[in-house]
């Protein structure tokens, strides 16, 4: 665990302690379970975003993808009555295809990630609304999918299964990002794509794979969100979720220039964001201030981190200068 991650963990614990002291309901099992369920849902989404950000890219369409794929998933199982495992596979495949198309446009046709995914944001939202004719996708009365509901919205030993899913995915993705050849390529490309290319890495394929991973994880979280809300109005479902994911990564120490950040960081970033949401609710802060609180905390966090970096660089320079002076005096 890096120093940055440790600092974030301490911040999470301090904020948690303060909230628990002011409002003991923070520690009630029901509150912890709800919060950890949300952490699970947003965490899966944020890990996908993190893989794209590490390459120096950005994926702005994930909120709209959550709406579109969630709508389709409910439509598949509730209206078209597909077997849910088949629908599940289809949705994941669609997520992969969306990622593949984005990656292809970015690496082969050299479009900017911001532009490609901004267009995606608009397109998928529009398609989702058109698909339901601006109606709501939901289950009919009495429609039940016990296995699916257990896996997505159920609990094991009191822990939401979505949270357990996040932990499993985190472990796998930690290995991919921090231990695998592919993960090293991702960091190398994020640090300096040209130099990576000149080292013989097929940078286009690697970046495309990052968008596919993001697409798959977004699709997975879309299913979780759908089963959590159980009814989706495509006009608003998943709105701003791309920003939650980006915020979690930035809080977790990712640089939008790429090449920096850790898996633990993005998870802790997600935890802090959900803790802040919870704090707004529990401390009786008007919920209209929700976004303002989040924005404020992220700004302060990034500012402190950046100033700390400047301070350390300056101290290193002063040390070096002192050594130089000492060296010159010795001569």
């Amino acid at each position: 665990m890096s120093k940055k991650d440790l600092g974030l963990l301490i911040l999470i614990l301090v904020v948690g302690t303060v909230v628990a002291i002011i409002n003991p309901r923070f520690l009630l099992p029901i509150n912890l379970a709800n919060t950890s369920n949300l952490i699970g849902l947003f965490g899966i989404l944020s890990i996908g975003q993190a893989f794209v950000i590490i390459t120096g890219g950005i994926e702005l369409s994930v909120g709209s993808v959550v709406a579109l794929l969630g709508t389709l998933f409910i439509d598949f199982i509730a209206v078209r009555e597909l077997d849910w495992p088949l629908a599940f596979v289809l949705i994941i495949a669609l997520g992969a295809i969306i990622g593949l198309v984005h990656g292809w446009l970015i690496t082969r046709l050299k479009l900017q990630p911001f532009v490609v995914t901004l267009c995606g944001l608009l397109i998928y939202r529009g398609v989702a609304r058109f698909y339901t004719a601006d109606g709501t996708a939901g289950f009919a009365f009495g429609q039940n999918f016990p296995d699916l509901e257990f896996l997505t919205a159920g609990r094991s030993w009191g822990v939401p299964n979505s949270f357990i899913a996040l932990i499993v995915i985190s472990i796998v993705m930690w290995v991919v990002l921090h231990r695998s050849v592919f993960g090293r390529y991702l960091y190398a490309i994020g640090k300096n794509e040209e130099a990576a290319k000149y080292s013989g890495i097929r940078t286009g394929r690697v970046v495309m794979a990052a968008y596919v991973i993001c697409g798959v994880l977004t699709a997975l979280s879309a299913i979780y969100f759908a089963m959590y809300t159980r009814s989706i109005s495509p006009a608003s479902h998943g709105q701003f979720y791309e920003l939650y994911a980006i915020a979690a990564a930035v809080l977790g120490g990712f640089s939008l220039r790429g090449g920096e950040g850790s898996l633990i960081g993005v998870i802790l970033g997600t935890v802090l964001l959900q803790e802040l949401q919870n704090l707004v609710n529990l401390l009786g802060i008007p919920s209209s201030l929700n976004f303002a609180v989040m924005g404020g905390v992220i700004l302060i966090g990034v500012l402190v981190d950046q100033q700390w970096g400047v301070f350390r660089a300056r101290r290193l320079m002063v040390d070096a200068a002192r050594k130089n002076v000492a060296g010159a005096a010795a001569e």
């Binding site: 695998s180 090293r184 390529y185 960091y187 300096n192 000149y198 080292s199 013989g200």
Partner: protein
């Protein structure tokens, strides 16, 4: 502080005594960067109306000296005295204010504006009135005498884009004159000029001198330095290697001071005549994106170092990019060992054992944020992994081997490459390829910005590679290097191979003639 006051007083008293006091004096200037001493106790002076030739190999400290004079960086210790006033270091404002002007190798002109607008950019004469319109008539009358002084044969309203390089340099010099420069520093002004244009520029320098303006002329073209300089200052390894007075200036003396002990290394390297090996990499009518209508034919043989010379912009780097699969050729074919070779990316070239040590080390050669070990394993990472998980011990083992093999000076192989000196960074770039069994090794300006000791080691490595049967292609703009290291020299001119010289035809003159498109003697 006491030191500073003292030297200030000393210089002040000198000013009052002697009439021909130096315009600029540097005393004991020292500047270090992490891992390198760029300037070490360097002193020099420039008198009014004096033309100083400043020579030294790449990495000798010339650019650091320029940065100090331009006020971009401050020396760690030492004093810079301008016009009798001593400074610990100049600021950009102080440098400008005291009349020091630069003409850089890369020109800083707006080629969408005309000559007059460029010369007075930001200082245009304005008409009366609230609108602050540019007084174009007055601008033209102000520019005319300046252009006359530099001997320009073009008018003030010519768009800069329509001028030749030498003419653009005249515009830069006119700009320097317009701010009443007293010292004009020309940094490699002739390196990209055809010979005829060079003469014009040298005439301008003489005209400046006649007006009492001092000139520092930095150049690798020693014959030109010989022609214009009143005094030559030679830098080597950040130190003053020597000063030559007008009567003592000649080519051999300068070279001797510039490269000193290096001369031997090079002679040794080129002693033995070699039997040429089989053709490894062959270009058949390759057309690069930079010169689509100029096909290139070139053979690189096993066991030889083929030098690729030519002026900046002659298409050498572009050719290397095609050989390494970064750019695709617009026509023609490549062959490797007699078999057709199709390259879709650098990854393909690497898979075939064709490696490139690129020109821009920091941008494309290595990843500054990664460690030595991570950089060295990067092109061959799957070989350092088990079931696609990177094995740190395998990485370390490979890196340790290259570190001791190449003599990379660093605390450990886990050190970030960004903290290393240029020479050691270059060795890391070499190390990543040497760890992989090269067939063809392309090196683009392999010793640019590297200190002399590391240079000799890199020459030794290239020779060892050739001896081991690797085909080595070395692109270099350093004439001494091309002649000293190569077994054959191919020269490029405007996108084409203008000639290939064998060992017995090697001479600076022949290379230069081919580089400007003429026939060698």
């Amino acid at each position: 502080m006491a030191h500073r006051l003292l030297s200030g007083v000393m210089n002040y008293s000198e000013t009052s005594i002697t009439a021909s006091t130096p315009f600029l004096t540097l005393e004991n200037v020292r500047k270090t960067y992490p891992g390198v001493v760029a300037l070490d106790g360097f002193s020099m002076e420039v008198r009014p109306g004096e033309v100083i030739g400043l020579v030294g190999e790449n990495g000798a400290g010339k650019s650091t000296l320029m940065k100090i004079l331009g006020g971009v960086t401050r020396p760690d210790t030492g004093t810079v005295t301008v016009d009798g006033i001593a400074h610990d270091g100049l600021s950009v404002e102080a440098s400008l204010g005291s009349g020091i002007a630069f003409v850089h190798q890369e020109l800083n002109l707006f080629d969408n504006l005309d000559v007059a607008a460029n010369i007075f950019f930001g200082r245009e004469p304005l008409r009366a009135g609230a609108l602050k319109l540019v007084d174009r008539a007055r601008l033209r009358t102000m520019v005319a005498p300046l252009l006359k002084r530099v001997g320009a044969n073009f008018s003030a309203d010519t768009p800069v884009a329509a001028l030749s390089l030498a003419q653009q340099q005249m515009v830069e010099i006119a700009k320097a004159l317009s701010i009443k420069a007293r010292l004009v520093i020309l940094d490699e002004p002739t390196s990209s000029l055809p010979l005829a244009e060079t003469d014009k520029l040298l005439d301008v320098i003489k005209a400046l001198k006649a007006d009492g303006i001092s000139v520092i002329f930095i150049s690798h073209r020693l014959h030109e330095v010989e022609r214009v300089a009143d005094r030559v200052v030679v830098l080597r390894d950040g130190m003053l290697a020597g000063t030559l007075q007008k009567s003592a200036i000649n080519h051999d003396q300068m070279v001797k001071l510039m490269i000193g002990r290096m001369l031997k290394e090079r002679e040794k390297a080129s002693e033995a005549a070699r039997a040429p090996g089989a053709v490894a990499l062959a270009a058949k009518a390759i057309r690069t994106p930079a010169y689509p209508s100029r096909p290139v034919d070139l053979d690189v043989r096993r066991g030889e170092i083929l030098g690729l010379a030519g002026l900046v912009g002659s298409g050498r780097t572009e050719l290397a990019r095609v050989f390494f699969g970064i750019d695709s050729s617009l026509g023609g074919a490549l062959e490797l060992g007699g078999k057709p070779l199709a390259l879709g990316s650098a990854a393909d070239a690497v898979a075939h054992g064709i490696f490139l040590v690129p020109e821009d080390r920091k941008l494309t050669g290595i990843l500054l944020d990664l460690s030595i070990a991570q950089n060295i394993s990067l092109p061959n990472l799957p070989a350092h992994a088990r079931r696609s998980l990177v094995s740190a011990s395998a990485e370390t083992a490979t890196a340790e081997k290259q570190k001791s093999n190449l003599g990379i000076r660093a605390p450990s192989v886990q050190t970030r490459t960004g903290t290393l000196s240029g020479g050691n960074q270059q060795k890391v770039v070499l190390g990543k390829w040497l760890a992989m069994n090269p067939k063809v090794m392309i090196l683009d300006e392999p010793t640019r910005g590297i200190d002399i000791g590391a240079k000799a080691e890199i020459y030794g490595l290239m020779r060892a590679l050739a001896d081991a049967g690797v085909a080595v292609l070395m692109i270099s703009s350093d004439m001494e290097e091309v002649i000293g290291v190569s077994d054959r020299i191919a020269v490029m001119h405007e996108g084409q191979i203008s000639g290939i010289l064998d060992k017995d035809q090697f001479s600076q003159e022949n290379v230069l003639l081919l580089a400007v498109g003429k026939q060698p003697k």
